[in-house]
Symmetry: C2
Subunit: 245 residues, 2 copies
């Protein structure tokens, strides 16, 4: 048996999310079917981040155990062949230690959230950004974001369905930058609560529109109540960019 | 009558090209229908660059004459409303001088060609890049590209269908840069022959793979024969980025 570590990229648009579900195709299922088509083995593909429906990944990491002997480069090429026409690609493939676990060995995760901030609707980036036509103040968003960095009870930014045992998380980085007509939010932490990034971005939008001050964001965090936070930003703009081990 | 200058962005994938044709939807037709739906006038929308089937634009410029009085901001919003769900957006709209002509007043055009240069197929950028899995030497491509800059007979890089009166053009800039896993080719000229950028990029790929030297590119140019040039690169990676007046 060999454990392989896979780097994975996908357009989350057509999927119910990373995890296998009854109600539609998942990225996990597509990968497991590609492994089965390649080596005729039934496997379980473990992902570092269980991204939601519509959320994309540039740097998802997964592992899978395969009995048959196969070189990493050949496995990667075969998986990419069988993954077609799904918008999922294996970008890296390497032999991993037997105790490497894509999810439990991970010590950090990074997400990027992209907001198209212009009057005209995005067309080349449709489905890959959140369109906010009203002008956003990136500096005000960044200032408000700093109120969320650190170790806090993030109940205000936690989805009702969240399965985490504790709402307390350490947010290491939450940077907001303007790049031309795009606002980019970069979030880094050991792990995140369900919908945490999207709920934080939905709240930062209010700061960017001048509706909320940084103090309002601090007050929302302190409330430890989802009802005190801003709305949930759509999945379209969210990318899992990196997993740290 | 007011002449409006429009900035236009589109995903060329679903279209037969800029220009109206019998065999499918064109960007021009969609814009003319959006104008008709907005002001109930039959108009002609003139574009600066008649991009081919599948070619994208970030900075296309067009003009249109409208009888009804309408503010530019309202016109832009209405056009974008009526353009849905086509992947076309009006990104700018301003009143222009009566003698402004999007095509004939233009003094320069800039194109970007994007090559995804990696083993894994592109998925988030599918249809928006040319996938070349074999590693390309961007420096060698750039060196070869400099042999094409200047005033030359570009018959080697001209499509058989090209309607230009002369094959002689001045190429002002042809830069090749690597940006991570992407090779970006930037081409600037007063105007281009039909398929010129795609034919030059297809030839530069040969230089990037080490199959052709810069001298081979010089010899191909001197041959003034399409058969002496490299293959035509696909439209997917090509973007009209800017029109200069």
């Amino acid at each position: 048996m060999t454990r392989f570590r896979l780097g994975i990229e996908y357009d989350g648009g057509p999927f119910v999310g990373w995890q296998r579900q009854e109600n539609g195709p998942s990225i996990q299922q597509c990968l497991e079917e590609a492994v089965a088509a390649t080596v005729q083995e039934e496997t379980h593909v473990y992902g570092a981040g269980r991204t939601d429906a519509g959320v994309h990944a540039i740097g998802q990491v997964a592992h899978v155990d395969i009995l048959k002997e196969i070189a990493p480069a050949r496995l990667m090429a075969a998986l990419n062949f069988h993954l077609k026409p799904n918008p999922i690609a294996v970008t890296d493939c390497a032999v991993a230690a037997d105790d490497f676990h894509a999810r439990f060995s991970a010590t950090g995760r990074a997400y990027l959230y992209r907001i198209a901030n212009r009057r005209a609707p995005p067309v080349l980036e449709r489905g890959h950004v959140w369109w906010v036509p009203a002008e956003l103040d990136a500096a005000a968003m960044h200032e408000a974001a700093q109120r969320l960095v650190g170790r806090h009870d993030f109940s205000t930014f936690r989805a009702a369905l969240c399965q985490a045992q504790s709402p307390v998380k350490s947010l290491d980085r939450l940077d907001v930058n303007r790049v031309g007509e795009e606002i980019q939010v970069i979030a880094e932490a050991r792990s995140f609560l369900h919908h945490q990034v999207r709920n934080m971005v939905g709240t930062l939008r209010l700061a960017g529109e001048g509706k909320w001050s940084a103090d309002d964001v601090t007050a929302a965090l302190a409330a430890r109540d989802r009802a005190a936070g801003g709305p949930t930003a759509p999945p379209d703009g969210l990318y899992l960019t990196r997993v740290v081990y």
